[in-house]
Symmetry: C2
Subunit: 393 residues, 2 copies
């Protein structure tokens, strides 16, 4: 194995983390919350990482956000040294509620309680506790909060973080550019190496080596390497299926840089696609470019979704429609906001999206996927390589 | 890249999944629950996979377990084709409560409700709803359950799954053996390739390629490649730190086979360890073997924990104590039960553990970690290679 020199990679500066915290505290005050509790876990890591740069393994993590004063990072009992080295938030407390699912008791470790950490943050007897990261706020935390603060109302406040995270700074976009560049380079490596007889998962391994060599800190999502009928899965995991000639191989390759995740989707073929499948792949690419052309600051998201769907109808291909056309992109490769028929917000400059075009038949699915940044008059593409219909060898 | 032929790998037979469901239903009936809801998410996947073989990406998953009658797999709105292809449970329902954190509304997708799926399972007006997978049961699910069944009590029943999962079948042990063999082979590849000047994360990439090539379906946990001071992290993630000569490089390499996860921990060095560090590494290895020698069916777990701690005290090394000596091993690389000073259960044949020996100084941490299966008179080691103190080149 020959490994190239480590690359220099972008990251988010300390002052940007501080500014995020301050903007969030202003929003907490404006909503009249006594405190906001932001939670994340290993897979749904984004909200806590956005505020602290820390992302847990096994355990959960949280941030206590009072309307004013310092923030507190909450971690599980095993991550003190790790979190101290990584967190951009100085004050850090251990809570058993943030322990791992293996459910150890840690009789020898000294931990804090929600009452203590709220009190230290100047929050006594809260009546309105906002919760952001509802999908990462688990039953153990909920029961403990209810017992600790029986008079308080737990209010879902995910929108505060969505709002904050949806417009990207230049540093954030630079992390995304890097994450997309790494994913595109990994696709180069895959296209050079992939052969019939390999399994989907062996191709994942080739991708992983290429991603980490070039500076990925992790996969942005599990790599999709989906062959033949497996390409029909909108969400999936690669399997032990052996690749065959002349069938579709759907790649969605994803790197993470300083927390920011890319996803580059290409339907390729080891050989020649049957005509009807090639037609579907080409239709998908047309729909992809048509979607991208409709994006610019000021456009209403639901109009983009409606035109996309109408394009399937007008092309006599509504049976090939599954979903689309775009979803938010940032720390997580799929984040809010989506573009659906009920998405009545206007696109803004420096929002970032995945243009995610999935066309489905009875035989295959094919997905063209690229990142874009919204500009005043269109988009900046974050990935552009390999947009030919690739039939290898 | 040259990739070897795909290996034939063990898996869990259908009848074993059926038997698991039946044993769990007997326990649900015995406890007098009206229904048990078992939840998992992308990172905390074990309970749902144990019953269904399905493990989600982005979304959550659940299993509805009535005291009798068929089980139902609950999935998010985007995983229908994927879950249909993978699940060993035939009945499958889509619920918005199991959607991804990106929080799409899916206005065009037809979904079920908790009331409907409970009713289909013969559960009307439940008063006692057991919850297993409390750490993967999120606020969105909890609020929906409370609204749907205002008279019901939600009772944590994680112990029902812990009990069931803690004794391994021959098929499960065979999956673990395979996962450990793959991790040991990946360590061979790393030791051959690793050089000063590489980053920790580049070594992770080498490991990943080796793991997937040999048949891993995923990482069992994020690979720990922790150099110098980073080795002090009990839980961590590899970083962009560049490896230097003559410092410790802590490897914990982990593969997953048919859901079962391995973890092989070795402190190695690119060069020569300073004497005091080498002493710590050797002390750790002695403590590791001493722990393993104390394991057999019938032994009380807290006695093992106590002897382990006493060994640190008697050796004048209590300052090097962080935690240990063992934790459960299976689907997740860390699962219940742990062995702590308050663990008053007796070890049983075919329980599987990680013997996880961590010795910490101000400069480094070092961790020897191997899987074992408890037998009538000792243990079967699941990993044994590279137990020398390895100083490379």
């Amino acid at each position: 194995v020959t490994i190239s020199e480590p690359a220099t990679l972008p990251s988010i500066p300390d002052e940007e983390f501080r500014a995020r915290g301050e903007r969030l505290q202003a929003a907490v005050a404006e909503r009249g919350l006594d405190v906001l509790l932001v939670n994340s876990n290993e897979s749904d890591f984004a909200n806590v990482r956005y505020l602290s740069d820390y992302w847990p393994v096994f355990e959960s993590a949280g941030v206590v956000v009072p309307p004013s004063g310092p923030l507190t990072l909450l971690i599980g009992p095993e991550s003190e040294t790790f979190a101290t080295d990584r967190s951009r938030i100085d004050r850090l407390r251990l809570l058993v509620e943030y322990r791992e699912a293996a459910d150890p008791a840690y009789p020898e470790i000294d931990v804090a309680s929600f009452r203590q950490v709220f009190s230290e943050a100047g929050v006594e007897r809260p009546l309105r506790i906002g919760i952001a990261g509802s999908f990462a706020t688990n039953l153990v935390m909920v029961e403990s909060l209810r017992e600790s603060f029986p008079d308080a109302k737990l209010e879902r406040a995910d929108d505060l973080l969505t709002e904050l995270r949806s417009i990207k700074s230049e540093a954030e976009v630079e992390c995304l550019r890097s994450a997309f560049r790494i994913a595109e380079d990994a696709i180069d490596v895959i296209l050079e190496a992939v052969r019939p007889g390999m399994t989907e998962l062996q191709v994942v391994g080739i991708a992983q080596q290429a991603l980490y060599e070039r500076g990925a800190e992790y996969e942005g999502m599990p790599q999709y390497v989906l062959s033949g009928p497996n390409s029909r899965h909108a969400i999936s995991r690669a399997s032990h299926r052996v690749l065959e000639r002349d069938e579709v191989l759907q790649l969605n390759i994803s790197a993470r840089v300083a927390g920011y995740s890319s996803g580059v989707g290409r339907p390729v073929c080891l050989g020649k696609l049957p005509r009807s499948q090639r037609d579907l792949v080409e239709f998908g690419r047309d729909a992809h470019y048509k979607t991208a052309e409709s994006l610019r600051a000021g456009v209403i998201a639901s109009d983009v979704a409606e035109s996309y769907r109408r394009h399937f109808v007008d092309s006599g291909r509504i049976d090939n429609f599954l979903y689309g056309p775009c979803h938010g992109l940032g720390l997580i490769e799929v984040e809010p906001p989506w573009m659906e028929s009920i998405s009545h917000y206007a696109l803004e400059e420096n929002m970032t999206f995945q243009v995610d075009t999935f066309a489905l038949s009875d035989e295959i699915g094919c997905r063209w996927e690229n990142g874009v940044r919204i500009t005043a008059d269109g988009v900046e593409w974050l990935s552009t390589h390999h947009m030919d219909v690739i039939e290898l060898g």
